[in-house]
Subunit: 387 residues, 2 copies
Amino acid sequence: MNDFRLVRTCCDSNARAGNLETLHGIVPTPVFLPVGTQAAVKAITPDDLKEIGVQMLLSNAYHVYLRPGMDVIEKMGGLHRFMGWDGAMLTDSGGYQVCSLARLRRISEEGVLFRSHVDGSEHFITPEKAIRIQEIIGADVIMVLDECPSCSDEFSRVKEAVERTCRWAERSKEAHTRSDQALFAIIQGGVFSALRRKSAEKLVAQDFSGYALGGLSIGEPKDLMHSMIGETVTLLPGNKPRYLMGVGSPEDVVEAVSMGIDLFDSALPTRVARNGALFTWQGRCNIRNAAFRQKEGPVDLACGCFTCRNFSAAYLHHLFKCRELSGYRLASIHNLYFMNNLMTVMREAILNDSFPSFRDNFLSCYRPPDEGVRLAQKRKGLSAWGR
Amino acid sequence: MNDFRLVRTCCDSNARAGNLETLHGIVPTPVFLPVGTQAAVKAITPDDLKEIGVQMLLSNAYHVYLRPGMDVIEKMGGLHRFMGWDGAMLTDSGGYQVCSLARLRRISEEGVLFRSHVDGSEHFITPEKAIRIQEIIGADVIMVLDECPSCSDEFSRVKEAVERTCRWAERSKEAHTRSDQALFAIIQGGVFSALRRKSAEKLVAQDFSGYALGGLSIGEPKDLMHSMIGETVTLLPGNKPRYLMGVGSPEDVVEAVSMGIDLFDSALPTRVARNGALFTWQGRCNIRNAAFRQKEGPVDLACGCFTCRNFSAAYLHHLFKCRELSGYRLASIHNLYFMNNLMTVMREAILNDSFPSFRDNFLSCYRPPDEGVRLAQKRKGLSAWGR
């Protein structure tokens, strides 16, 4: 299982349509994975995900390991059963969270020592332990433990992280025992082309089931992210899935699909939803805006989501004004439906050779948030977690 | 429409089974109405209510009047359409909220002047305006404006409130124009038998479609509440529905059904759910308790609710520990299902002449919260709102 089959490549871009075959269903790509940080996609339940059409989600091994803890997950027969999700699942190894959330981390060749952001308890994670944790969790796709440098780190520091991540990838592969799980490697290298290239070449030579691009969308300018993606993708084998970690926004996803990325995950659609920002084909709108107070129709007339089928924009506006919990759920459903629909539409466009015009159309209609504001928010968010 | 038909009275208690016929469906009684304070039952959506089996809910005219405001409700064609609820609905007049939530209230014969608890704006509500507001909202059952004294008020103060409430009831009746809405009067009188009796007699003489018992369960001891209910019910016509406002807990509801009450409303089941307290036939349990950390089965094996059918107690425990929003929704669904099921079971017991043994059985198994703790919490809650 866990085979990736390339179905079609776009005539005029690097966009690809494929199928990722897992024990929990065949996942058509390109695909966006909602993030279930703490064994739950915030504000919604698995039946909501099914209704939206989600076929695969991401869970954070770091969070699940700390809470509820591996004893609970093991007793409950894995994370699928614990959270009531029978679709496909990917877990990240915790490398990114250890680097961004945990306190007092100390990285050595053996592994990483850190304190839990929940209760301050001390933990030591090795590549082997990260694999063991993910085998107990039981996701369909699991990730090697990586070291994710900050976007402001200098060349020598990033080089060190790239080399260590390659050695850890080898150890992860050796430690991996479950044949029903695919193991993906993570390409690091910050914003340095030479390091990205080196990382990709080394990891491809180690022959993993798929390749992730890590350490992007962490505060670097967008054009730099795009050039890193473009340069890296050319080095990756065509028959293996490519996963851009932590991305993200509709506009970034469309660009990255065009560059040949197959999988995405990000908490952004649900996080901004809880702040009242709803995706439309014209860009984000904020439901708290007074313009919605008396709006009788749905937020987006063209949208087929549960929220837009059942509730007016005026009602959603009211729920947000009153801080009613159901508002957060309904907005999250809308944004995840938008992302899922966007992926479906892109796949169809790739299959019928119309992707480039879809992409150009989308990018000319969709007004992204101001880049300066976006970067400032991103950096503020990251620094709040101690980096 | 809005006829009440008595189907059966218990052989050995005052418990009754009936049907309340409304334009939005026939509601079997006894019935418990979940509370949709701000045009929403907290944490859940109308499809959740349908799935639970809820047939009627309560909305607070006071809250809806302040937010979103009557312009929005009127433009959206009433509250049913605004919030997406096509079942039966009852609105209270706002009398209780004005007395308990609003600031700087000043009651005169004409009406009540108060400041909004939301933004401090000043409002003047008369009996006629309370009816007009409820006609725009469009509930199936609406209430007269009443004056609800505190449970610590002395006899002369409560007497004054009773007399004014009777005069306001007359004015409310004259102002009421929509024949598709039933208008209920509210019996006040605090914990004074003579005043309860006087209030009931006067209002029954005015011939309303139904009678509510107001000003109970607001901090007085339970045995006093029970004796007030018992004494009042004997004065009410058998062919009209009887509604005990703001009650409540499973044990109180069972006792009050036994005394001849048909309708109940309370935010308690959803409020305690959001604190992690879940109803079972043995009493409330708190899902945050460490005993649930590894519990594989549902909270209540006998429960048929969405939550218990789909999630383990261990998972609910985890959601509460992590403060995940879906935990509040799943717990609210469970408690409302419990209440709805309790009402269904009581109705069946009344219909097949087994209610007294059901009641005794229930009360011997169900362990209510400690009375001292309960009263202290209740008074603390009320004083937090300025009384």
